[in-house]
């Protein structure tokens, strides 16, 4: 059997898709100075709410919209905690993750007493061969990433966002509404995270099961630092992770490698990202106002 390299490359983009959506959401949050550890829960809520809505209305568009609304609401909650009240961002984020996962699972339990549910329609792949990818994959790489790159670089909103994340005092003195900008960043970023989660249910699987996000949010947090809060390097990091993951899945069933312990194969992507960081990741510099709430004297 020839090694199916094209399939591995195609899978790379699929695996990277939720990481790109949620990771870029985290970039937006952190560029505004807020570490959103709610990411894992927001992806989970996006996956669940998106699925629930699509399953009950039969409309994928409504499902995606509902996921986005859930993300916006979660972002607003994070904003209330970290921006308005100035709560420690680690606690607020982890608390939000715990809450959203528990609330999703609770609702799932009440509505479907057990077992996994399936929607009959989902966003299916378009094109064929290597290019057979989900629409949300194309949107992530061809639309979202360039758009956010442009937004951060060349729009007034991006300039404001970077200013409140670097030096909120200076932004305030320049007449930029710091709190409002941070809320906007949190809500936009969280909506992207929710879409990343909804990709799993509405596009990849067409069903919801518990634990569906499986730590992808935490990987995004790592990728954002890996990519130094810049759009394209974060996308590259997601692709690196996706590639190593796709590669290990393929190698695991390739005769020569199947003797290697399975766990070592699965650990491979994590180790590769650490190694890549060790080689290229010197002297990471965080946004200036990272983790710090702002309030005028």
């Amino acid at each position: 059997m020839d090694f199916p390299i094209l399939a591995v490359l195609a899978a790379t983009f699929t695996i990277a898709t939720p990481l790109v959506w949620a990771g870029l959401g985290a970039v937006i949050n952190e560029r505004a100075g807020i570490l959103n550890l709610g990411i894992e829960g927001i992806m989970y809520a996006g996956a669940f709410v998106g699925f629930l809505t699509a399953a009950s209305t039969g409309s994928l568009a409504l499902g995606l919209t509902a996921a986005i609304v859930a993300g916006l609401a979660a972002g607003a909650l994070m904003g209330l905690l970290t921006v308005t009240l100035g709560v420690n961002q680690h606690v607020a984020g982890i608390g939000t993750t715990l809450l959203l996962i528990a609330a999703s699972e609770f609702t799932n339990r009440l509505l479907f007493s057990s077992g996994s549910q399936t929607i009959t329609v989902k966003f299916d792949r378009i094109l064929s061969g290597f290019f057979a990818q989900y629409p949300m994959t194309y949107v992530a790489f061809l639309l979202l990433a360039p758009a956010l790159w442009w937004l951060l670089r060349s729009s007034g909103f991006g300039l404001r966002l970077r200013a409140v994340g670097e030096n909120p005092e200076a932004a305030d003195a320049a007449g930029i509404p710091v709190a409002r900008t941070r809320y906007a960043a949190l809500m936009l970023g969280s909506a992207l995270m929710a879409v990343g989660g909804a990709f799993l249910t509405l596009s990849l699987l067409g069903s919801f099961t518990l634990d569906i996000v499986g730590g992808r949010g935490w990987i995004c947090i790592a990728l954002v630092i890996f990519g130094r809060w810049r759009v394209w390097p974060v996308v590259a990091g997601a692709l690196l992770f996706g590639f190593t993951d796709a590669l290990q899945l393929q190698l695991a069933i390739t005769p020569f490698f199947s003797a290697v312990p399975n766990e070592l194969m699965i650990a491979f992507p994590y180790l590769v990202v650490i190694a890549a960081l060790a080689i290229w990741g010197r002297g990471v510099r965080y946004p200036g106002a990272y983790l710090t709430p702002y309030r005028r004297a």
Binding site: G115, D211, A246, P255, N262
Partner: protein, 326 residues
Amino acid sequence: GGTTGAETPSGDGAESEVPSVFGAFATPLEEPWDGAIHAALQSAEEDGLIRYEHVDNLHTADEMERALRDIISSEDPDIIFGDAFAAEEAVRAVAADFPDTAFAFGSGGEEQAPNFSVFDNWMQDPAYLAGMLAGGLTESGTIGVIGAMPIPEVNRIVNAFIAGAQETNPSATVTVSFINSFFDPATAKQAAEAAIAGGADVLFAERDGVIAAAEENGLPVFGMMVDQKEQSPEHVVSSLLWNMKPTVEAVVAAVAAGKFEASNLGEYSFMVNGGSSLAPINTGTAFEIPADLISQVEARSAEITDGTFETPVDEEAPAGSTTVEG
């Protein structure tokens, strides 16, 4: 454990004569393994055989032990069902402390006198039959299996599936991927895609996520635990079913008769006893299932049921890629 509270529920006990059962599960009920036990207990309750309460998500041995002691001290049920995997030590210690309560737990170990019985999902029979179908359906000669992790409960199913494939297609290759998680449908799907890229044209979804890959690629797929046909009506050939009802009924009958004692309940999960089965073969698939293949499988199924064929049990981890050729 506490010193109070054991008396309160006994008033309820007077109202009805049926035994009270408590389910104590390590995973959420949504996970198929514990879900199957829960479903059987629920149906026993609907049938008026038992009164039933439950708690799930007892992830660690520590939580399991606390819950069991709490269950006994505050609810004092007649029977506790659950799974003891990864908490054997704790569960057995509690059972030893409360000899008057009947314990029936999923376990890889032996029963423990006087009150600790064990069961397991002995599904090698339907797995073998599904393997036969898979072997007959593959055109490329490669079959992909995506499983959770190489634990005995999974291994013996996968190995039986491989053996079944060998019967109908002696030259087939079976690739086995483990995702090292009970719940990670996204990764399971990617693993299935990798298997397809590696040439597989028939899939066995030991875990959730695989059916979506089969559907997208138009390939035959086998489901697990419950009939998953509705997830992809044109691609799911059949599913391996675990039916805990015979086990539950056996335990309840023994307790009701006051004759419960520690035993290995494993045989109640065997196909012979109706504890497991292959779901009806889908007639509406997008591809054709040869009639002679079906009759071959039905014949083997009948042999299993009448006891003339015994599916071999092999709990060793299967290799990542097994070429079946003997």
